[in-house]
Symmetry: C2
Subunit: 179 residues, 2 copies
DNA sequence: CAAAGCATGTAAGCAGTTACATGATTGT
DNA sequence: ACAATCATGTAACTGCTTACATGCTTTG
């Protein structure tokens, strides 16, 4: 329900190969499916079988053949239908919070270590996000509206990590005050 | 990797039946696996087979037999190991944002409708969260530390929905200004 | 000479959701 | 009469991850 639509989304810009899509997914930090190329290839095969994309094989001398995928009218219709469908609530899932929830059996030191570890990871991630945004060029940028939307999505992502980081720091301080 | 640990977490408080666990999951808004009883039952069977929980069947006259599950020492060890394991980064997944990302093909009206729909859902959810928190008693409350942690987790959840809501409203306004 | 990049896939498995299946009791 | 509560499970499917499998070229 999701990586397939995202692939159709990228292909709505222009034709791509599976390898190129892999790079797009990795760069577009708005999407978490980084680096998992396998599903892209299998999804492309499925999309092709379903008639949502067409494929052109380009033989190359020095490299394996490239398979360039192009979205079809059926694929465009599918994409449009998804775009207009009722959006779902976002999912915020944090294993660290689940760990915290049942941390009653941990000592103060162990708990603080857990929080410290979570804090560090969030901090790293937030910095990485901001850095990627600063370097610019995440997104298509074909119209002012599209540019605004992609910038907002990236900012939102960074802001979420920062909010989680601030929350973690606050909680850590409060717990330290308790003991 | 997760619902099993959460079940062990609840069972570390006291023994429960599958049905009671189902209620705990639904109430504890910190967890998103609401209402999905099936996996609880299958997970309990697995945990039992693995020796992490023991089970006592209580026959009843007017109702089906209750299977009361109790955590074993092995289960406690498993729980503790998970609690001390390196926390993962939180996952923020928003299908609505993916829809937005490729909304270039939508008209201004269609896009605004999408945002309005997302905004309403977030608003409902945020209100529900706050209301549940206000009614109190989400969490175990056996020590000041535990109480603080559960309150913080619930607040954090509500705050995330509110942040997403504010983001959506802001984006909607900016887009309106563009056109 | 090793690492990174180019380029494609298959197979197995896990977590989680949805649908299917049953059936009595209690409250409105 | 109808819905909700109590109480348990099985089977199929989807989405995603991990491991496996290949092999050539360019850059440091």
């Amino acid at each position: 329900m999701s990586i397939r639509h995202a692939i159709l989304g990228f292909l709505s810009w222009k034709p791509f190969t599976g390898y190129e899509l892999k790079g797009l997914f990795a760069d577009a930090l708005s999407f978490h499916w980084s680096g998992n190329s396998n599903q892209i290839y299998t999804s492309l095969l499925e999309l092709h079988k379903a008639g949502s994309v067409s494929v052109e094989v380009q033989q190359q001398e020095k490299h394996p053949a490239r398979k360039v995928y192009t979205i079809t009218d059926a694929g465009r219709a599918e994409l449009r239908e998804w775009l207009l469908s009722e959006p779902e609530l976002p999912v915020f899932r944090s294993m660290a919070q689940a760990q915290l929830a049942w941390s009653a059996g941990l000592s103060d030191g162990e708990l603080d270590g857990l929080l410290a570890s979570y804090e560090r990871q969030l901090s790293d991630q937030a910095i990485m996000c901001r850095e990627t945004i600063r370097r610019g060029s995440t997104g298509p940028d074909r119209s002012p509206r599209e540019k605004l939307i992609w910038k907002s999505i990236n900012d939102n992502r960074a802001a979420l990590y920062e909010a989680e980081l601030a929350w973690t720091r606050g909680l850590r301080a409060k717990i330290r005050k308790l003991s």
